[in-house]
Symmetry: C2
Subunit: 259 residues, 2 copies
Amino acid sequence: MGTVSKALLLLQFFDRDRPLLGLSEVARLAGMNKATVHRMLTELQAMGFVEQVGAAREYRIGPAVLRLAGLREAAFPMREVSLPVLRRLADVTGETAHAGLLEGTRLAMLSYAYSSRHGTRVMMDDAGVLPLHATASGLALLAFGDPALTDAALAAPLQRYTAGTIIDPGRLRQTLETIRQAGIAESLGGFEADVHGFAVPLHDQSGTCVGTLAVAAPVARMTDTLAAAIRTELRAAGQELSGLLGAGAQQAEGLRHAG
Amino acid sequence: MGTVSKALLLLQFFDRDRPLLGLSEVARLAGMNKATVHRMLTELQAMGFVEQVGAAREYRIGPAVLRLAGLREAAFPMREVSLPVLRRLADVTGETAHAGLLEGTRLAMLSYAYSSRHGTRVMMDDAGVLPLHATASGLALLAFGDPALTDAALAAPLQRYTAGTIIDPGRLRQTLETIRQAGIAESLGGFEADVHGFAVPLHDQSGTCVGTLAVAAPVARMTDTLAAAIRTELRAAGQELSGLLGAGAQQAEGLRHAG
DNA sequence: GAGGGCCGGTTCATTATTCGAACCATCGGT
DNA sequence: ACCGATGGTTCGAATAATGAACCGGCCCTC
């Protein structure tokens, strides 16, 4: 693996639960020599991708990503394009709708929308990462995404988050086959005990699965009627969003010709 | 310069005017060998920082920055913290307010707010980069920031954007001295002929100038009264925002102790 | 107060990776 | 058909990265 890739890999250890990391901690997480990690973090810092703060001189993600994220949205407004679809889906179902994006071997939260119909709701985290085997979104990715991703994910040790988390690879493969036939993934308490999740794949214009669209509701108010409605609306919204994302890609092609 | 820095440098060539770049174009802009650039872009792509699109296989910024930007805002919500201050400043002055962040040797747009008081307004670009010598924000950075940055900026060839752009280093140094004494930078048509801009520096908790807060108005409706009001409100808002940003840094320190 | 364990940070001989001139196939324009 | 540009690839030479060992400082325990 090249040096650039190794350095960028370090950025993946920062997450919602660990926005601040010390040098030794990053080295431990990355399984790399502290001197090597120090050198890489120093370069990332010089370019604005991380910064050191506080008396303990811990690192956090730096400001350079803000402009790049703005540029990314300007060039290919996935978040902006997805938000109206998510809002409508949340309104129609009365539950939380969210979109995730495949990033390497992980599923990163792209955007989400809440419904104000109820006093409780399933909450989402900005910049959150969802496990693949334990959420509806993750299962959708495994079912409809690159088989190599699926093989790799199921070969790794799988973490149990709740009593409802399936961690047996054989059972998961059966589950994935059921999902493929249904065209929609469901997870009942796989990641959080009281959440019932539904997800469909999002495809780019070449048909490749690049993300997921999902609805998450508290188990307590799930009924057969609500579940059926979620499935119907989610399928339709998924097709719509895949179409919009594909159009965005075509628009990029158009931009070039116009330029 | 290390390999990681060189690779990340490539990301800086993407901008609002050039969201899509071909391999040879990036190599030309970077002054690097095409094989080298290809290898670096391939690694950046593998890590999700760029992606190739279209028949011409051009590159654009990839999705990995979205999560990192979300993480950055979650850890240190500069954009979120600045928006209320910007909105209030825009409301009170009736003109466009914007905040910029120093990124290496450039000033990147952080966030902005418009006023709806008039039918026209000075427009801003997401992910825009402002020239240092030709805008009020840039001049504020040069006046109050690191003298090394100022020396480097004035030593480089300076681009004339309008008839009002000062490109003589000597005159610019005089202008910067005036700005230091006034505590506020003003640029009349330096970057866009019909825009009058005002800016103050933003400091982090150590007192280092890290960005700017600015108001931009069309020249056509500038009056002495409006200019005086903008100066007053901008100074106050600048102090407020510097304080908030400093508090955010202290909060990061607090987060660590709580963890 | 001393000792131990951990932290962030540094050094430099050794090792691994990067570099880039030269080449290739393809495409569009003349 | 030819030319100039593109994206992409190769591999011997050159350069940069690596990491074991070390340093000073801080905090905790005895």
